[in-house]
Amino acid sequence: MEYKFLTYSFLERIFENGEKELVGKENFHIGSISDFLYVPEMYKKGQLNLSPSSFTIGHELINDKINSGLFYLQELDHELLKANLFNDSDLDLSIATDKISPRRSITRTVLKLSPNSFWDENIIDEMEEWYDSAE
């Protein structure tokens, strides 16, 4: 199975277009909780064309994908923070820098050192490329 980075754009399309957006997308998608949590922000600012019911439906669709094992949204817990925020004896400047957005900081943190075998380098590259083009 191919692993892909679960981009914010894809999440946004699921909320806007519902189930049809998921047809044929059977790859395993790995993403960051920060992108998921950015959806309400964009909705409130009128950047998403959604009714309140589509908002709930989109949330359920994504939860279904998570429960069926096709989506994985890494959350930022204490253990992950401990493992990622420091590099030897100093702050890891790839995360601890205000040169990137707060959202990207979280995404880098949750994707960088998580001890999962599927945390392939290509996911990290995809994540960086997506943020480069989006921000």
Partner: protein, 186 residues
């Protein structure tokens, strides 16, 4: 039966059973500065300093003492989002202002006191973020509540409907959800 509602006395919030206090990034910075400058880890008391006023310092001491006395706090815990620690790291020099070192910051994250919780950034925040307004009318101006600020607000909300939110952002005072729950530190 214990009183579950937040009391409001003389314009000040009162700690109640199992009331957590959630800190935003600016307050977390001052909290850590006092924590290390005043040797809190070896039993000294929190004092009013920087943006931490007397009322807030007193509440923190109540929580700490309660833990020390019987190991089980009936007053809840001090809480900050893991995102607050990332934000602090992103602006470390500005936030620490020489008041604590990277080593001390790391030591706190590695082994926080038992009365302190580093709250996850999780999907639990999703609907709380949805509930929060994107803008507030403050001093007759429409002002945006940015995503990063909203994460702290949502963290306070998921800690239960009795949690208090310690913030330096007085714009949040006008958000209805936080009615009587803000410790606005100026």
């Amino acid at each position: 039966m214990r009183i579950l509602l937040m009391k409001w006395k003389n314009g000040m919030t009162v700690l109640n059973d199992y009331t957590d206090i959630v800190l935003d990034t600016n307050i977390l910075s001052d909290f850590l500065a006092i924590y290390f400058e005043n040797s809190i880890s070896i039993g000294e008391k929190f004092v009013s300093k920087y943006r931490v006023n007397n009322d807030f310092a007193s509440k923190i001491n109540t929580i700490i003492l309660d833990h020390i006395n019987d190991g089980i706090s009936k007053y809840g815990k001090i809480v900050a989002s893991n995102f607050a620690f990332i934000e602090l790291a992103r602006r470390f020099d500005e936030c620490s202002s020489g008041r604590f070192t990277v080593d001390q910051f790391r030591a706190f994250i590695d082994s926080p006191p038992e009365w302190f919780v580093l709250e996850s950034v999780s999907s639990d925040l999703f609907f709380e973020l949805y509930r929060l307004p994107s803008h507030v009318l403050f001093k007759e101006e429409k002002q945006t509540i940015e995503w990063a600020d909203a994460i702290h607000c949502a963290t306070a909300l998921i800690r239960g409907n009795r949690s208090l939110f310690a913030t330096s952002d007085s714009r949040l005072n006008v958000i209805q959800i936080f009615n009587h729950r803000l410790l606005c530190i100026t």
